[in-house]
Symmetry: C2
Subunit: 315 residues, 2 copies
């Protein structure tokens, strides 16, 4: 019964965030001939600039993502709907005829609009001195995804999952990155986030009174990153985990005990001090992608030894 209860709670949480029938708030229609993740990403970065107003719902926003909009009829349907709902239209359409049609229809229907893909494609086209293809990612005849990067990502995810939570220390040397920290310093979500980008990640939990695996000190020390966190913040995360998962009585109360948390973090900081090669990264108040960005900046800085740290790739 307990577990059913918490399930229903979760559903309520999600509906609260995603309920679209709800009245009030301006609408943002995001349209792509592909997945829509690019336009979604850009809109959410920009929405960060209105958080002061979104947090108190003074300017509530409903975003709606329309993916795989590949024909003119569907495009026009979405734009008419945008007009009806008083939405702004933000789009990525690789076919210039589709992009132009979107622009004209918006102008005719007085729907505010912004092209996300056009300007960057034009700028890169001029820079490279190459005419863009004008074909969406899913178009017939496009290169398949069966690239080296595709395999690298899949293998990185498989590796990373198998190495979660200190498993298989004998494989630590195969990782690109090894994350070390006490429970709930976001080791697992960080690991899978980085794996998705093609890095093989292992994470090793630090537990008071249990020695870290000897392999940790035998592998290339440049791969290892320490994670640290503010004790009050950590306590609230553990409490939330408790509420969410409904951990039973078997969970030691020391898990939430402030004194215990401080001792645990002290122990981890001492270990980090003994291993000065390990960068120590503060995760307090950082989103997963923010901590990941810091780790990758240091990783590539060490690898490439630029004056201005950068992450570089060749295509």
């Amino acid at each position: 019964a307990k577990s059913d209860e918490s399930d229903r709670d979760d559903d309520r949480d999600r509906d609260e965030e995603e309920d679209d029938g709800r009245a009030g708030g301006k609408s943002v229609f995001m349209v792509s001939d592909g997945t829509g993740w690019t336009v979604d990403h850009s809109v959410h970065a920009a929405l960060g600039q209105f958080e002061h107003c979104l947090a108190d719902r003074g300017c509530a926003v409903n975003t709606h993502l329309f993916s795989e909009v590949n024909d003119i009829d569907r495009l026009m349907g979405v734009i008419h709907q945008a007009g009806a709902e008083g939405a702004i239209l933000v789009y990525t359409l690789a076919d210039p005829a589709m992009a132009e049609a979107a622009k004209r229809a918006c102008q005719m229907l007085a729907v505010p609009y912004l092209d996300i893909l056009g300007p960057i494609t034009d700028a890169l086209g001029s820079h490279l001195n190459v005419i863009p293809l004008g074909l969406p990612r899913g178009a017939p005849g496009r290169k398949s995804a069966l690239s080296k990067q595709y395999f690298k990502r899949i293998e990185a995810v498989d590796f990373t999952i198998k190495q979660d939570d200190g498993a298989l220390p004998q494989n630590l040397h195969k990782a690109d990155l090894v994350l070390v920290g006490v429970s709930r310093t976001s080791k697992t979500p960080l690991s899978t986030y980085l794996a998705q980008m093609g890095y093989k990640v292992a994470n090793v939990p630090l537990v008071l009174g249990i020695e870290a695996p000897k392999e940790l000190f035998q592998i290339d020390q440049d791969k290892i990153y320490g994670l640290t966190i503010d004790p009050t913040f950590l306590r609230s995360i553990r409490a939330a985990r408790y509420r969410h998962l409904g951990l039973g009585k078997e969970t030691k109360s020391s898990y939430f005990d402030m004194e215990h948390i401080r001792t645990e973090l002290q122990y981890s900081r001492e270990l980090f001090k003994k291993n000065p090669t390990w960068p120590v990264i503060e995760v307090t108040g950082k989103a997963i992608e923010e901590t990941a960005a810091v780790i990758l900046r240091i990783y590539h800085e060490r690898k490439n030894k630029y004056v201005i740290p950068r992450i570089s790739k060749r295509y």
Copy 2:
């Protein structure tokens, strides 16, 4: 020795893609006061429009990501470097003074440039009738990441990892999404990708001669998605897995046997036919994020029953 060999191979692979000292090719400098993932995402979507030329290296591109560029000195350093390397500068800078400084310096040094964040922020600001904050994501005083969405993501990743590869069938009912398919239909990378977005995902492998867990047929059938794949494509993925992981002789040769692969896929298609509620998704030639987009489109379509399928969220 075998395992050391393959490690070194992996390193070579990565260097081939990321070696920046290599001569030739145009440079793209991506600058952000935050993580840089937004500008990176936009540039990569646009680069898709030049794949015809990138594939044969006729117009090789070196991308360089500079994250956390938060002060004017570092910004000017990067722009001077862009001038020296003949790069285009693409940036997201939330502080209008920084964005303006970037623009002026590029004009002075004849560096081509494009502002990614400014246009979308201005468009949303007009639409919402709110003045943007002008503060980067890491600025002091910004809201911490300790939001509901933060916990949802972390719990979704934890849940998903525990449910990988058919583990804990008794928890299947707690998943938002359940992915079903034979080995190497990208169930695991799809699951962690979707988990990162806050969905609790379970995946259940279909193995010839082993019955699927009874729980699969007892839970809400609307949660279940079948994955299917072209047999030739599947064979090449399995062969690559073999090469990458160096699976030993214990791997049955039937794993690569075309006849066996066909029978296996036939079995999965029959199961899908018996369960017509499960949408069947073709993964052949699709990147993980492409398959994820299809799954989420159907998921939200079923949930919200719009005429034009959309993924909606409220802020």
